[in-house]
């Protein structure tokens, strides 16, 4: 059965007809063309499909689109403002925390939720939050240091 829903994504409102069983991930990719949310394991393990739901990281494969009505959804496409990358995005590029890029949106969004709530996390807190995201190319050291460097820049007022 299809339901009319209004989804708030990256500050915009979208009216859609979605089937009850459809995960948010599929609606973002197939209906809204927001392909930054990646289709990975679809089992709630790999974190490639991470989006922010009311500012907190969730696996969009494990959320029904019909259940996301009335919530604030943020995808990687919503992070840059006026073509200016978020400090986390800049840090991932500058620190070589990206190789194939498939997992990067998930890592960056998870890190954003962490820094929004805790601007000065230590390395073990960063690692704890990033447990739900898997990278198979870079290794995690550069990713953790990119998040810590971005946190420093946000604190210094160089970013948002």
């Amino acid at each position: 059965m299809k339901y009319p829903v209004t989804l708030g994504v990256n500050g915009e409102s979208f009216e859609l007809l979605v089937e009850a069983h459809k995960p948010l991930l599929h609606v973002l990719r197939d209906d809204l063309n927001l392909t930054g949310a990646r289709r990975g394991c679809e089992s709630g393990y790999c974190g490639a499909c991470t989006v922010l739901l009311d500012r907190q990281p969730v696996h969009s494969c494990s959320v029904l689109a019909v259940a996301a009505v009335g919530k604030e959804i943020t995808t990687i496409e919503g992070l840059a403002v006026n073509r200016q990358l978020h400090p986390l995005q800049e840090a991932f590029v500058a620190d070589g925390a990206i190789q194939c890029g498939y997992c990067s949106p998930g890592f960056i969004l998870t890190a954003k939720a962490l820094l929004d709530g805790e601007p000065q996390p230590d390395s073990s807190t960063v690692r704890e939050w990033l447990k739900g995201n898997i990278c198979r190319c870079t290794g995690y050291a550069k990713i953790v240091s990119a998040v810590l460097n971005a946190a420093g820049k946000v604190r210094a007022g160089e970013g948002r």
């Binding site: 009850a20 259940a67 447990k131």
Partner: protein
């Protein structure tokens, strides 16, 4: 599956009526962290999904000295992990929640949802067994209270009837003192427990005799259970390396381990003995370092 309906009742009464009307065709959706995986794998195909996300009454955490700790079934794992009340009165449960999967899963996954799916390797069941918790099951027929160990009736099965809703988890005041430990063994930290052992232990006045204890085991056998034989060896006895080893050996001998992608039955049995010994030792000497895996 294409015809699946989705409803969001606005009150508990409405939710119970919806469940009563739909019987076996209805399925409760809490945080979705178990159910969506099961839907994706085709393990369940309900005609009606009954979402509880509007029932904000079910997210309360309350404590009073007479009633103990009460957790609404829709309380998220993240809320339990970070709750000052839970951390103060039942730190073992807060720590158990913090070991579940990832932050992502804990943001949405609920305690009630976790218990009602009874997935192999879930962390809260053994912890709640050791804490002698009970659950409230509500339906249009009334409310019944069930001991937590009786909830887990078989492999991925529970005693919750199709028209019932698990609404609350209660931890009695007597379980909130003493020493409590939960140890989890898994290969990657986001995995379910290969072995999860929870121990709550009370020492007698002499400081070496075990006045009482309760042990919950998850991940090993088809369903979580209370390790009664191991308890019996230690209850009223002097705690020592030898008595703890003996109890752990009995627990390993008596378990009914499963084999799956995470580990073999033989490995689970061996690890149960190791982690039972560590958890009991941690409960005995209060050595947090020994209790951490």
């Amino acid at each position: 599956m294409q015809q699946m309906q989705y409803v969001e009742p606005g009150s508990l009464t409405e939710a119970l009526q919806t469940l009563s009307q739909n019987g076996e065709e209805g399925k409760v959706l809490a945080g979705g962290q178990s159910l969506l995986l099961m839907l994706h794998l085709g393990l369940v195909r309900p005609a009606v999904l009954v979402s509880l996300q509007r029932l904000s009454d079910l997210t309360a955490i309350a404590y009073d000295p007479k009633g103990g700790l009460r957790l609404g079934a829709m309380t998220t794992q993240r809320a339990i992990e970070t709750s000052p009340l839970v951390r103060q009165h039942c730190p073992m449960l807060a720590r158990t929640s913090s070991l579940i999967a990832s932050v992502h899963v804990r943001m949405l996954g609920t305690l009630g949802g976790n218990l009602c799916h009874n997935l192999p390797g879930a962390d809260p069941p053994p912890a709640l067994i050791a804490l002698d918790a009970t659950v409230l099951l509500a339906s249009t027929r009334g409310v019944r209270e069930l001991a937590i160990a009786e909830l887990f009736s078989g492999f991925m099965e529970t005693a919750v009837r199709p028209d019932e809703l698990l609404t609350e988890i209660r931890i009695p005041p007597a379980s909130l003192g003493g020493r409590a430990v939960y140890l989890k063994h898994c290969v990657r930290s986001v995995d379910p427990a290969l072995v999860g052992v929870a121990v709550r232990l009370k020492l007698a006045g002499d400081g070496v005799t075990c006045a009482d204890l309760r042990i919950g085991v998850g991940g090993v056998s088809p369903t979580p259970y209370r390790a009664g034989s191991a308890e019996k060896i230690l209850r009223g006895q002097r705690l020592s390396r030898d008595s703890i080893s003996a109890a752990s050996a009995v627990a390993a001998a008596e378990c009914d381990p499963i084999t799956d992608a995470h580990g073999s039955a033989r490995y689970r049995r061996k690890m149960l003995e190791v982690f039972m010994r560590r958890a009991l030792t941690g409960g005995w000497n209060g050595d947090g370092a020994a209790a951490l895996c």
